[in-house]
């Protein structure tokens, strides 16, 4: 057992799955293994992957921690950004203000859960509707065109660094590194794991349980906002309903990545690997011309499949190390 609750079984399983899925798709279309396709997969996975990083912290903090409003935050962030850009605010300032708004939206979730003590699933369900409604009001229910904006801004979602997508190299991977450090290398990460494991014991050991969990919701709001900004830059459009699919998929990815739904376990590294699996499978299915309606079902099948494969593996390991 590692001090941080990190377990190797799930990451290895996910890595194997990613390779297997890729190999499977390559049988039908060998050209899926091209650099351009990997780039497209990355672009597809980065936004939901960022959201899942924040979601990992929230869920691992325990007490049924969950943030259902992440997609709504991403959509509202896009609309706020679009309105600011259309009001001729310079794009760096607009992005900065949007990030600030995103932190605020996360803070509302944090207060609802830790201060008002509303169950997370209810609190964030309420803010999901609240934020999504606000996005519709602010946008007048229509998409906001951003294609005429600064090419520097659009590069956030369309640029390349060293031949790889900008948002992967300059945003997602640094964020992943930061979150991994936060979780496994800092006192905050340690305290959040302890809180997720036993919040009564944590409070009586002098940990500020409410602040620790609250910070996770704020960070989750931040990652959802960054994902929304990247998405708007990628498509050149701010859509009020941009992230509506991300609410539940981000949770599925976190769980697939090995974070226990009861808190106190898991790692953003597992979450990142799960994001890779989902990105490959989703991209591979559309590349092989499967009907997109199958894609949602496939995520469910993968989720159950991993559990079914993992249980015998864990049992075998338990026997071996007894």
């Amino acid at each position: 057992m590692h001090a941080s609750g990190f377990d190797r079984t799930r990451p290895l399983l996910l890595a194997a799955m990613a390779v297997l899925a890729l190999a499977g798709f390559a049988v039908g279309h060998p050209d899926i293994l091209s650099g351009a396709n990997f780039g497209s997969m990355a672009v597809f996975g980065v936004e939901i992957g960022m959201i899942a990083l924040g979601q990992t912290l929230v869920i691992s903090g325990g007490d049924s921690g969950i943030d259902l409003s992440v997609g709504a935050i991403a959509g509202l962030a896009q609309v706020v950004l679009g309105r600011l850009l259309h009001a001729d605010v310079t794009w760096p300032l607009a992005v900065a203000v949007t990030l600030g708004v995103g932190l605020g939206l996360g803070a509302i979730n944090a207060l609802a859960v830790t201060w008002l003590r509303i169950a997370p699933i209810i609190a964030t369900l309420a803010t999901l509707f609240g934020y999504a409604g606000l996005a519709l009001v602010l946008s007048g229910g229509t998409n906001i065109d951003l294609t005429q904006q600064s090419s520097w801004f659009l590069a956030l979602g369309q640029g390349h660094v060293l031949g790889l997508p900008f948002q992967l190299i300059a945003l997602y991977l640094p964020l992943l590194a930061m979150f991994a450090f936060l979780q496994h290398g800092t006192g905050y990460g340690r305290a959040l794991y302890l809180t997720g494991t036993n919040d009564r014991a944590a409070a009586l050991a002098g940990l500020r349980v409410g602040r620790l969990r609250g910070a996770a919701y704020v960070l989750c709001g931040l990652t959802a906002t960054i994902a929304g900004i990247v998405g708007a830059a990628r498509l050149g459009t701010a859509r009020p309903d941009a992230g509506m699919n991300d609410n539940l998929i981000s949770i599925a990815i976190v769980v697939l990545g090995g974070t226990g739904i009861f808190g106190g376990t898991g790692s953003v590294v597992g979450t990142a690997l799960a994001t890779v699996v989902i990105a490959i499978v989703d991209y591979g299915l559309s590349y092989n011309d499967f009907n997109p309606i199958y894609q949602a079902g496939v995520i469910g099948v993968i989720l159950i499949g991993v559990i079914l494969v993992e249980n015998p593996v864990l049992a075998w390991r338990a026997r071996r190390f007894k």
Binding site: M1, A3, T186, Y193, L194, A201, A203, L204, A205, G206
Partner: protein, 504 residues
């Protein structure tokens, strides 16, 4: 009510014979102790009596009528009820709902009649000296001692004539045990037949008039307690030693008053404690003795910032304080080792190191906000060494350690910090005697080092062994402070259980 008779009860599980022709007669107004080692068949026998399992052979007669229980409801209809060691309860339901679970009183359209149920139970609660306000409490919010009381209430509500107690005291403190015994004695005098299962010899003498010993599924002897001396009982029990409660009392002069470290004055929170005064000097161990529900832990939690008081003052070294949470109380210099190791203490799946350092993580910061992992490890190893925690290494999950070592680790978590006041709530509950003695020595060491130590315990010998002064609490109030020669077991016990006031 006529006697219950079990004759020739046989029960096999696969090839294993759990009960091999057991005869047992239960007489109204008699407490019948059932003795036996683990695996002797005691539990199986109870499950036969309560209808949880059907015997392969043999007969049960209640008042001369043969009965065949195939379902627990039939046994309870025949007037047989059981109170288990760890009460089987519905934790999320109220006490009232637990008492009537499966036997709700309903009116027209099957609507539950709470008022009627409450009025049936209230006199029963009174008989057991329990407050009526208990009925609306959630079962999970009660201690095990109280949960057992609820089950006894349920047995009375069902008008049970035979009440079986299955090692009820094994996780109770001495004081809780004493109260339970008073109640069992009352039930017996009312003409009920009591079956009392235990492996503690000292309890049998106190409570039972007849003893039956089970060995390997057979009755190896039945006798009146009065005919048995210690030696005979011990032989019957096949060398089972009883726990030694008679620890010699330390001869201690009344201590000179140290500098007051923690002073609590007039602390009140309605329903939990009223007008509590605690005076806790530095360099001494102050014992707080009281039964379950005496408000002792709640007062401690108030000083620790975990449960806000309504009135009264808490002063630390002369300055009034009002900690809003444990973190603030810790910064002020107050520590609290919680009562319930599993629920409030350990992080079961986490390594020993993380458990030992949970309260001090903030101090281990290296460059760039990184945790000082080497420092954490060194601190953990220091505590493991100093407090002699038996563990393979500091990375092992604390949940895999023995209860005694888990408790030592929690103790070390607090004792290793520099504090002004350390409150220890049941510091040795449920751990072996050797570890207990070790922890007592550590407690004395802490006080000798100048710390103000409070030891809350319902284990009287423990309080007497470690304390310089003893505060006695009952029903949310302080009813006495004993020092020096006044620290006398009988007097303290009598005031804590209220025997002097009730004068039976």
């Amino acid at each position: 009510m006529a006697p219950v008779e079990l004759k020739g009860i046989v029960k096999r599980f696969g090839g294993v014979v759990a009960l091999d022709g057991v005869d047992l007669t239960l007489v109204p107004g008699e407490t019948h102790a059932l003795l036996g080692e683990n695996g002797a068949g005691k539990s199986t026998l109870i499950r036969v009596m309560t209808g949880a399992i059907v015997p392969d052979e043999g007969s049960i007669t209640v008042g001369g009528t043969p009965c065949r229980f195939t379902h627990p409801a039939q046994a309870s209809a025949a007037g047989i009820a059981a109170v288990y060691q760890e009460p089987m309860i519905y934790p999320h339901l109220s006490v009232l709902e637990n008492i009537f679970a499966g036997a709700e009183m309903t009116g027209r359209f099957g609507i539950v009649r709470r008022g009627a149920m409450a009025s049936v139970v209230r006199p029963l609660l009174e008989q057991l000296d329990l407050p009526a306000s208990l009925l609306v409490r959630r079962m999970s919010s009660l201690s095990i001692g109280f949960q057992q009381m609820v089950l006894i209430t349920k047995a009375l509500m069902l008008n049970a004539q035979v009440i079986i107690f299955d090692e009820p005291t094994s996780i109770l403190s001495q004081a809780e045990t004493d109260r339970l015994f008073v109640i069992i004695e009352r039930l017996r005098r009312d003409g009920r037949a009591i079956v009392y299962i235990t492996h503690r010899l000292d309890e049998i003498r106190r409570i039972a008039s007849r003893v039956t010993v089970l060995t390997d599924g057979r009755v190896s002897g039945t006798a009146l307690t009065s005919d048995l001396d210690e030696a005979k009982l011990l032989t019957l029990m096949a060398g089972k030693a009883s726990r030694d409660y008679g620890k010699p009392l330390r001869d201690r002069a009344a201590p000179a008053h140290g500098k007051p470290a923690l002073r609590i004055t007039g602390l009140t929170r309605a329903g939990l404690y009223q007008n509590v005064d605690w005076d806790v000097p530095a360099g001494q161990v102050t014992g707080v003795y009281g039964l379950v529900g005496s408000g002792r832990s709640e007062v401690a939690l108030a000083a620790f910032g975990a449960l806000r008081p309504e009135r009264g003052t808490i002063a630390l070294e002369g300055r009034p304080i009002a900690p809003r949470d444990p973190a603030e109380a810790m910064r002020l210099g107050i520590g609290y080792l919680p009562e319930d190791r599993k629920l409030q203490g350990i992080f079961a799946t986490k390594p020993l190191e993380a458990n030992l350092t949970a309260g001090t993580i903030g101090r281990f910061r290296a460059r760039g906000g990184r945790l000082d992992f080497a420092g954490l490890r060194d601190e953990a190893l220091r505590l493991i060494g100093h407090y002699r925690i038996k563990a393979r290494d500091e990375t092992i999950g604390i949940g895999t350690l023995s209860g005694g070592n888990q408790q030592k680790a929690l103790f070390a978590r607090w004792a290793g910090q520099s504090l002004k006041v350390l409150i220890l709530d049941e510091p040795t509950r449920g751990i072996d005697i050797g570890t207990k003695a070790e922890i007592h020595d550590f407690i004395r060491d802490l006080a000798a080092g100048g710390l103000a130590v409070v030891v809350i315990s319902s284990d009287l010998p423990e309080v007497l062994a470690v304390s310089d002064r003893i505060i006695v609490m009952r029903r949310g109030g302080v009813i006495g402070v004993a020092e020096g020669a006044a620290m006398n077991a009988e007097a303290i016990l009598a005031s804590a259980v209220g025997a002097d006031a009730r004068a039976a």
